[in-house]
């Protein structure tokens, strides 16, 4: 019997995923464990492995399609088996091909001659799908929208430019907005209010039951769908989904907060000593984690944050969200771009636990398998971004809004230090760059916090 492959649900708040590439096409034979297709959410990519052996009978979507989770994607079975009944309502079965014999295995299609693509018979049963949209393929900015869709978009804070119309002649109709609203999750009051001002779209909901909060909002700018002048001088490369998201959230951050950066050096002798000790302990098998300089810095930051709760916060424009725990975000550079996995309740971890969690998160991000819910900026209460490994001394990190601040950690450079009594010596210094949202925090408090971080680094006590 033919087996149907569905789009897996990755994370609580994920409503749909985009197929990055189908690795198999209709007619290919498939073994258990073969990669069928790659797909991505806003924050992560995944690969779907085949659970069965057989031949690909049908693929209902094409590369780049956004597919609601749990929706049928493809059918694998024995040649000759029927598959039409698995077609999602409103979706035509895809076969990739310009080949004349586009459905070599379709039992209803003659084996020779040019045959037009077969439209999948509609699902006969009265199903909800018919009144819910087929997957919007491409949003066209400025597409016509019905008044009801517009009203609904306003009520549900959906940006119509980002919605693909499924109505006649590409019109955005109510169901498209409903689907978009469902996909973006519930909106918090603040998020609604902010979106009403325009220019923002909801990101992945980070609140309860996927509620989109103010901080999940992202600035939307219409994509260029047509760039003139492509030729020898340059080539036009479309941004990846991930890239677009990063672009939106970075732009959003700078547009919607009052950021400035203070820089301060911390004497790194203490943590260098600790690092040495930790390395030895690892080698001797006393501990099972490779505690890095960055881990120590993060540990120090957590301690400082506990003393400065205002910094461990979200700025909501007209209110503050002061966290009782430290949900620490840690920027990770991956092939797909910047990711900021969050370690929930990081303040409850000892240095070994923290080190392990940070390592695990970074690895998962690089593999693209980190829980998307914990990649949302609202998930974190403070972020640390470390560029020390690249030799950067100072930089101006961009806040992961709605967080109130971010700490940039630079490389360690030897600097002269007055050791007292006219004695100067070169001492290793760690560059600390604190970007904070001046709407939330004044310069004095920010400076005191930054100093506290330095002090914690310089006097860190850890046990292992």
């Amino acid at each position: 019997m033919a087996q149907v492959v569905i789009m897996p649900k990755q994370g609580q708040s994920v409503e749909s995923c985009i197929v990055s590439e189908f690795k198999k096409k209709v007619g290919d034979s498939v073994k258990v464990g073969d990669i069928l297709f790659g797909y991505e959410t806003d924050k992560a990519t995944f690969e779907e492995e085949s659970q069965v052996e057989g031949t690909v009978l049908a693929i209902f979507y094409k590369d780049g399609d956004e597919i609601p989770v749990l929706q049928n994607v493809m059918v694998i079975g024995q040649p000759g088996e029927s598959f039409a009944e698995f077609a999602p309502a409103g979706v035509q079965e895809r076969s990739d091909s310009s080949s004349a014999v586009s459905h070599p295995l379709d039992p209803t299609t003659p084996q020779s001659g040019a045959v037009p693509p077969l439209s999948v018979p509609r699902v006969a049963a009265a199903s909800e799908e018919t009144s819910s949209p087929s997957a919007p393929v491409n949003a066209v900015p400025g597409a016509p929208a019905s008044p009801r869709a517009r009203k609904l978009a306003e009520e549900k804070s959906v940006n119509l430019d980002a919605v693909a119309g499924s109505g006649p002649h590409g019109r955005i109709i109510a169901r498209d907005v409903e689907a978009a609203a469902a996909a973006q999750g519930k909106l918090s009051g603040l998020a609604k209010a902010k979106m009403a001002e325009g220019g923002l779209v909801a990101g992945e909901g980070s609140g309860l039951a996927g509620t989109v909060k103010g901080g999940d909002l992202k600035t939307w700018k219409a994509n260029h769908t047509d760039i003139a002048g492509e030729g020898e001088e340059f080539e036009v490369v479309k941004m990846s989904n991930m890239r677009k998201l990063i672009a939106k959230s970075m732009y959003n951050s700078l547009q919607n907060s009052a950021q400035l950066t203070h820089m301060l050096g911390a004497d790194a002798r203490r943590i260098q000593a600790l690092r040495k000790k930790a390395k030895k302990a690892l080698e001797e098998g006393r501990i099972d984690a490779n505690i890095t300089i960055n881990d120590f810095v993060c540990f120090a930051v957590i301690k400082a944050l506990q003393k400065f709760p205002n910094i461990n916060s979200h700025c909501l424009g007209d209110a503050m969200r002061i966290f009782k725990t430290v949900n620490l975000g840690c920027a990770v550079d991956t092939e797909r771009g910047l990711m900021v996995p969050v370690i929930k309740n990081a303040d409850e971890l000892n240095i070994i636990g923290l080190s392990k969690e940070l390592k695990k998160a970074a690895d998962a991000c690089k593999k693209g398998s980190f829980n998307p819910d914990l990649l949302a900026s609202e998930a974190g209460s403070f972020t640390v971004s470390n560029l020390g490994g690249y030799g950067v001394e100072w930089f101006t990190p961009i806040i992961n809004v709605p967080q109130s601040a971010i700490l940039g950690v630079g490389t360690i450079v030897a600097r002269p230090k007055d050791l007292g009594a006219g004695v100067y010596a070169f001492v290793p210094y760690l560059g600390l760059s604190l970007t904070y949202d001046h709407r939330a925090i004044d310069g004095g408090e920010a400076t005191r916090f930054l100093k506290q971080v330095a002090t914690e680094i310089e006097t860190l006590e850890v046990e292992f």
Binding site: R122, P147, R148, S166, P168
Partner: protein, 827 residues
């Protein structure tokens, strides 16, 4: 087609039946002098002086209006009257002679040129009414508002003189559109009437009174009311359909052959032709007509030639003589009658008419015979009065008219309605919205107790829901159907309201062409239910006259298409009189109109839209037995004109919606409330008429194949219409198709669509879509599916204009390009 009248070939095919004789028509037979009349005691000196006074009053009144129109003032007091003034100077003897023998139980109807007749009848009524009665009429009229102004500055104690001031003031105020006018200023010059004096509407449509007056006579006869009815028409009006059809109706043999007891005999109606020689600029004799004299027309209608006479309308006594004889004849039930009163119109059709079609010599020659001057001379010759006496009468009347003129143009004393400030004032006058059990005060004439009626017994054995107790369909013979619903409401009212009559083309033995009235023949005498001639203008026109006088009536138009035959009555008369009378008149007329199908281009049109376009009509179109009975009950309880549409497709249909079936007892369904026949959430179908059932089929298919649920709403009433339920539905569904069988272009469907688009704009997921019939002739039955909206059309437009249906293959072309193309072609 009564069986009692045997059409015998032995007679019909033999020569004696072929011999047609015409009676001799008397012409100018009055020859008496004033002295002879005095000697015979037919008039007192005072009577003769009143005749003179009344004629002069009319002349001065018309002179005043002519001066206002042509010089912008009267006696040096400026006034601008932008409205019409069709003056009757020259016709005074005809008017006064007409009115002399009439009392307030006798009704006159008029034309656009009726100031003279109104004043003559009014002055005569004032003369003959007991003072107390006259006073009461004046004091009660508009709560005394008109009298209040008319008596300003009047120091005398003479009720009759006050009456004259009241009459002249009320008429001028009406002509000048003042709220103190006889019809609150809503009628104007061409509709200046005063029913307490028996002055019924004059009419701006030439010949309009021709059928209405006949209906008034029918009212008098059926309801046993005193008095005769006079229709004052011009010689030009004798060309008009309503006049000829009205005369046909009044000539019906059945009044003598079939109507029984005290109902036997002719209608008390007199067509009085004010034969002033001109119809606009056309001369009826020698140019635009062929009758030579209007008196000839009577010969075409019945063997008595309508007792027609041609009378010298320049001698008031000749006209009085003729009217005395005709009135007696009508009272003996030997009517109808026709008078051709020869007169002459000095003024043009209106003050803008330069009389380019006649010579000055002609006018001068008639002026030389002027009826007032001539009558004055006769009075002097007979010793009734001196020139001084006549001059005194003239001075007195001039004085009164001038005073009343000044009062009528005073904006404080005689204000106009402020329709800008009080925006809804006139709107609230369009319908009377009354609830009246019975317009008659007598016990209804019926032939048997209702429960013994064979139809009533038959219905008692029927299932009042389309399914039986076990949920199985009831056989059509045992199923209570649409025609039963209409019948129950109608028969109920016949037993409640003695004034109710019903007629149309075949209403009696057949029970109507569609058997709705089967059983009524057994229940009702002829005078309450009868077959009319094939004369739609008369069917509706007489109904209007009947209702105007205070009766309730159900005229029937057998096919909707025939509305065209009574266009004037439906569009110009029926809807207008309630508001135009300042709400003095009520119009309880329920016009039953059957909407056909199967019968091609001239028998299958849905013209509901035409009726909705006309302000003043209520328009209903029930399509279920429950709605038919409830809405017919409301129509028959009301006081407004209702066009009650019935679909020929549905006469046999059972009740499928109302739980428990159609109630046996009396109930009303209020007008204006659309009814949700099926609930749904994805799209709304709002239907007019029989399209409901096709919409339901479409809803079934939509659900079965595409999982979409349609909410189906039956408009039921078109005017009035409450949008609230529809708005609620559209808020839910976001989509609406408005469908009906009328040709789409210019139909009420578009009106609904426009209003819904307006009222529901933010809730719409697609523009409202109109599904009407094609803008073609209705093809033959076999081809009708291409013409009337079909279930597949609903799916087509949903797919094309609202939400693409997966895998749907359209049957029709509803693309925008096609829409534009069709409009370009005008189809």
């Amino acid at each position: 087609m009564p069986k009692s009248l045997y059409i015998d070939p032995e007679v019909t095919l033999r020569p004696q039946e072929h011999e047609i004789k015409f009676p001799k028509i008397p012409v100018m037979q009055y020859k008496k002098t004033v002295k002879e009349e005095l000697k015979e005691g037919n008039f007192s000196k005072e009577d003769l002086l009143h005749i003179y006074r009344d004629m002069f009053t009319i002349r001065e009144f018309e002179t005043m209006l002519n001066l206002v129109k042509t010089t912008g003032g009267y006696n040096g007091v400026e006034y601008n009257n932008p409205g019409p003034a069709h003056l009757s100077a020259g016709q005074e003897a005809a008017a006064v002679g007409m009115a002399y023998n009439l009392d307030t139980d006798d009704f006159i109807f008029g034309s656009h040129r009726s100031h003279g007749e109104i004043l003559a009848k009014g002055l005569r009524s004032i003369q003959i009414l007991p003072e107390k009665e006259l006073k009461k009429i004046m004091e009660e009229f508009w709560g005394g508002a008109t009298l209040e102004v008319a008596k300003k500055g009047y120091k005398g104690k003479d009720t009759k003189e006050l009456g004259i001031r009241f009459l002249i003031y009320g008429a001028i105020a009406e002509i000048f559109a003042r709220t103190t006018g006889f019809n609150k200023g809503l009628g104007g010059s061409m509709h200046t009437f005063f029913t307490p004096f028996g002055i019924y509407p004059n009419n701006a449509i030439v010949g309009g009174s021709g059928s209405i007056a006949v209906g008034a006579a029918l009212y008098k006869k059926v309801n046993r009311k005193k008095g005769i009815v006079v229709a004052n028409l011009g010689d030009g009006a004798m060309a008009r359909g309503p006049v000829l059809e009205g005369m046909t109706f009044a000539s019906m043999d059945q009044f003598h052959t079939l109507w029984e007891g005290d109902m036997k005999g002719g209608l008390p109606v007199l067509i009085n032709v004010m034969d002033n020689q001109y119809a606009m600029g056309g001369q009826t004799k020698g140019e635009t007509m062929g009758y030579t004299f209007p008196a000839r027309l009577g010969a075409g209608f019945n063997p008595e030639a309508w007792h027609a006479e041609r009378v010298n309308g320049y001698d008031p006594l000749a006209v009085i003589d003729a009217f005395r004889r005709k009135k007696a004849l009508l009272e003996k039930k030997e009517g109808p009658a026709l008078l051709d009163v020869v007169t002459y119109r000095y003024s043009g059709h209106s003050p803008s008419d330069q009389s380019s079609y006649r010579t000055k010599e002609e006018i001068a020659a008639w002026e030389a015979e002027d009826c007032i001057v001539a009558f004055g001379k006769k009075l002097i010759e007979a010793g009734v009065a001196t020139q001084k006496d006549l001059d005194a009468i003239q001075a007195k009347m001039k004085e009164i008219i001038f005073e009343m003129y000044k009062l009528a143009i005073d904006p404080e004393l005689s204000p106009r309605m402020d329709l800008v400030k009080e925006n809804e004032l006139l709107g609230d006058m369009m319908f009377s919205n009354g609830s009246v059990d019975s317009f008659g005060d007598a016990k209804p004439d019926v032939l048997m107790p209702l429960e013994e009626n064979p139809r009533v017994k038959q219905i008692a054995g029927k299932s009042r829901f389309y399914l039986d107790k076990d949920g199985k369909p009831v056989s059509s013979m045992k199923m209570y159907n649409f025609r039963d619903g209409v019948f129950e409401a109608v028969v109920d009212r016949f037993y409640k309201d003695s004034s109710l009559v019903a007629y149309g083309e075949e209403n009696r033995e057949w029970g109507g062409a569609f058997a709705v009235y089967r059983g009524l023949t057994e229940a009702l005498p002829y005078h309450r239910l009868f077959n009319s001639p094939i004369a739609e203008a008369a069917i509706i026109g007489t109904a209007i006259g009947y209702a105007m006088c205070g009766g309730r009536v159900i005229p029937e138009i057998m096919y909707c298409d025939f509305l065209g035959c009574c266009g004037d009555e439906i569009f110009n008369q029926l809807p207008k009189w309630q508001a135009m009378s300042g709400n003095i008149l009520k119009m309880p007329v329920v016009v039953r109109v059957s909407v056909g199908s199967k019968y091609g281009a001239q028998h299958s049109q849905d013209w509901t839209s035409l009726c909705t376009h006309i302000p003043g009509l209520k328009v209903v179109f029930p399509v279920t037995p429950y709605d038919a009975k409830g809405l017919m009950n409301s129509a028959l309880q009301g006081t407004d004109p209702v066009i009650f549409f019935e679909s020929q497709r549905l006469y046999g249909i059972g009740e499928q919606f109302h739980e428990g079936g159609v109630p046996e007892g009396y109930y009303e369904i209020p007008f204006g409330e659309p009814d949700v026949k099926r609930e749904g959430k994805d799209v709304t179908f709002l239907t007019i008429g029989a399209t409901l059932y096709r919409a339901l089929k479409a809803a079934d298919e939509l659900k079965e194949k595409y999982g979409m649920e349609a909410e189906v709403i039956d408009a039921r009433t078109l005017v009035p219409f409450n949008y609230e339920k529809v708005i609620e539905s559209v808020k839910k569904t976001g989509r609406i198709i408005i469908a009906g069988d009328a040709s789409a272009r210019g139909s009420f469907l578009n009106d609904l669509a426009a209003n819904i688009a307006d009222l529901c704009f933010d809730y719409l997921d697609a523009a409202p879509v109109v599904l009407g019939s094609r803008n073609w002739i209705t093809p033959c039955h076999e081809l009708e599916e291409a013409f009337f909206p079909q279930p597949s059309w609903f799916l087509d437009v949903i797919n094309e204009k609202m939400v693409p249906l997966p895998g749907y293959v359209p049957t029709g072309n509803f693309t925008s390009a096609q829409q534009i193309l069709r409009a370009k072609k005008g189809v």
